[in-house]
């Protein structure tokens, strides 16, 4: 109450001293804040803007090196047409969807029951498993890459969708995140369900997992963004163009164009970047919540 009286009194006191100077000061600080933010925003947006305008410029204007933003001659149809005909960009994206979808489905199927077991069930070896999960959190995916590559090569599985997905089937991070969520799920509801004869399997998938929907959505966003954009592992196990996910496909495309046809290259980059950016613009809250909750890359 006391604080409120103070805060209510303060602006009035200010106004009595000098109404104009405080207003000017506020305006100046506002101007300062926005100029800093806009300067940063220009730095952030520059590649996106330049990508889009270059993708609709004819080669002559690109090589002209003029600073003109908007093209004199609209050449977007040619550039995008060329990019789509020269590289199977849509195929790359289909590959991306297959790989990301496959990884996410298996990750959830494996992690949800395991996280429930770690959070709510007493079984032999539980603490050992939990320790191994925490250990797994400390190992970046690039570390087991070499032995996994050798194993896949020996099994003749290189250049398959399976080889692109298998190292990520287990997400120790998903187990960790879901376990935190499940731990706070009320024990009484689980006990009541058990007394009603509901099996443990149904308890996991029908009762507990739906309650952790925010965590599952957050993890899904995190997983899709990470694997859609991953280059390192596909670069290792894939050498056939038709199997390439978007980043690898983009790399092939850039190599084939030897970096000269910038109109088509930026058109390709725009096509490859579009799906996730559009998804982000549509589901902005989900994305930001997802990153806040997972907070890990």
């Amino acid at each position: 109450m006391n604080t409120m009286a103070h805060t209510l009194a303060r602006p009035a006191a200010d106004r009595r001293i000098s109404p104009l100077s405080s207003k000017v000061r506020r305006l100046v600080s506002l101007l300062l804040v926005h100029s800093v933010l806009v300067a940063g925003a220009i730095f952030i947006l520059m590649p996106f803007v330049w990508m889009l305008v270059t993708s609709i410029k004819p080669p002559s204007e690109v090589f002209d090196a003029g600073m003109r933003l908007w093209p004199q001659q609209f050449y977007g149809g040619e550039n995008y047409g060329y990019a789509l005909s020269k590289a199977p960009l849509l195929r790359f994206m289909l590959n991306g969807v297959i790989v990301c979808g496959g990884i996410l489905i298996v990750q959830l199927l494996v992690a949800v029951p395991c996280a429930y077991a770690l959070a709510k069930l007493r079984f032999p070896g539980r603490s050992v498993l939990l320790a191994l999960v925490l250990l797994g959190l400390c190992i970046p995916t690039q570390v087991p890459a070499l032995p996994l590559y050798i194993a896949l090569a020996k099994l003749g599985l290189l250049n398959t969708y399976f080889s692109m997905m298998v190292p990520f089937f287990l997400s120790v991070f998903a187990i960790f995140l879901f376990r935190q969520f499940f731990k706070s799920y009320p024990e009484e509801i689980i006990q009541a369900a058990r007394l009603d004869g509901v099996s443990e399997f149904e308890i996991v998938w029908r009762i507990v997992a739906p309650s952790a929907w925010p965590a599952i959505a957050a993890f899904s966003v995190f997983s899709i963004v990470a694997h859609w954009n991953d280059l390192y592992w596909p670069l290792i196990v894939i050498s056939e163009t038709r199997l390439a996910p978007p980043p690898l496909g983009m790399m092939y495309f850039a190599d084939a164009e030897t970096g000269s046809n910038y109109g088509a290259l930026t058109a390709g980059a725009a096509i490859i970047t579009a799906p996730l950016v559009v998804a982000f613009l549509v589901a902005r809250r989900r994305f930001i919540e997802g990153i806040t909750m997972t907070g890990i890359k």
């Binding site: 590649p47 191994l132 797994g136 995140l177 980059a269 613009l281």
Partner: protein, 308 residues
């Protein structure tokens, strides 16, 4: 009374016993797929990696020689590795303060905005969701000495053209700037989440105590209360920066003259281009040793942070 009490007891005990058995079986069953995958995709590869690092194994070779610590001794004397380590640390040293401080500034400035907050949020977050490989191609064009607009602007302002990607001294700072560009939005979101947990009346109370100046408020309230978030952001940024690979692989391929070779890229070349598996395994373990410091810290912080 006593008889009524005595008779259900064995039943409940039997039921409890049955329940414990079901729990043990279900728990083990639920954990089994994860455990099998953990063994196959993390633990066994780690063991194989350790073993490989003591050998001369090359993919396709028939006889494998045991080398002891020779691979590690070779790595310590290898000028390529030493250079890549220096480059990686330099990259981290630029990206870490850049991406953390700028993100903190942006988050603090955005936090109090009401109408414009979401616009800025979307803009700054855009690089996080965009495919870095595609954007790296665009950056390459942006920084082109002759055709790129960055040099165009510098030229218009009367400066000489700057060969951002072909000058050995400039290439790591340039890649680091792109790294910062990609990370600001990510860190900003984490800082915004941290800022939103600071109760408003703390600032009001401080104002009553005469803490009015924005810098005062930052030093006395925001910064201390943001401590755990900052710690977390520093650790994740270090890990991400230490794993720099994509921009190097697309934009410079370690060049010019090895001036942008980084640890992960060198390891990739040794293992998957030259197929020196034994040596690459040793390099991977060196990479792991460096990153383990950060990732253990991250796991500890994560374990404390995620409370619902």
């Amino acid at each position: 009374m006593e008889a009524a009490n005595a008779s259900p007891e064995p039943v409940t005990r039997r039921r409890a016993h049955r329940q414990r058995l079901i729990e043990a079986l279900a728990g083990a069953g639920f954990a089994m797929p994860a455990l099998v995958l953990l063994l196959l995709t993390i633990l066994a590869p780690l063991a194989v990696l350790a073993w490989l690092s003591f050998t001369s194994y090359e993919l396709g070779a028939i006889d494998i020689e045991y080398l002891g610590l020779k691979n590690f001794r070779r790595a310590l004397a290898d000028p390529v590795l030493r250079r890549s380590l220096v480059n990686t640390l330099l990259y981290v040293a630029i990206v870490l303060p850049g991406a953390v401080i700028l993100a903190l500034v942006v988050a603090i400035l955005i936090h109090r905005r009401k109408r414009t907050r979401s616009i800025y949020e979307v803009i700054y977050f855009l690089p996080v969701t965009s495919t870095l490989i595609a954007m790296a191609t665009v950056w390459q064009f942006l920084l082109h000495p002759r055709l790129g607009p960055v040099n165009g602007i510098l030229h218009a302002l009367g400066f000489d053209e700057v060969p951002f990607l072909s000058e050995p001294e400039l290439v790591i700072p340039t890649l680091a700037a792109i790294g910062i560009w990609q990370l600001i939005g990510f860190n900003m979101v984490l800082f915004l989440a941290g800022l939103s947990t600071i109760p408003r009346d703390l600032y009001e109370a401080a104002e009553v105590d005469g803490c009015v100046h924005p810098i005062d408020r930052f030093v006395r309230i925001t910064w201390p209360l943001l401590g755990p978030t900052t710690m977390f952001v520093i650790v994740t940024t270090s890990i991400t920066a230490f794993k720099v690979f994509d921009t190097v692989a697309v934009m410079t391929r370690g060049g010019p003259m090895g001036s942008s070779e980084v640890l992960l890229y060198v390891t990739y070349l040794e293992g998957f281009q030259y197929f020196h598996m034994g040596y690459a395994a040793a390099l991977t373990l060196i990479f792991l040793a460096f990153i383990l410091v950060f990732s253990i810290a991250q796991t500890v912080v994560l374990d404390r942070r995620v409370h619902y």
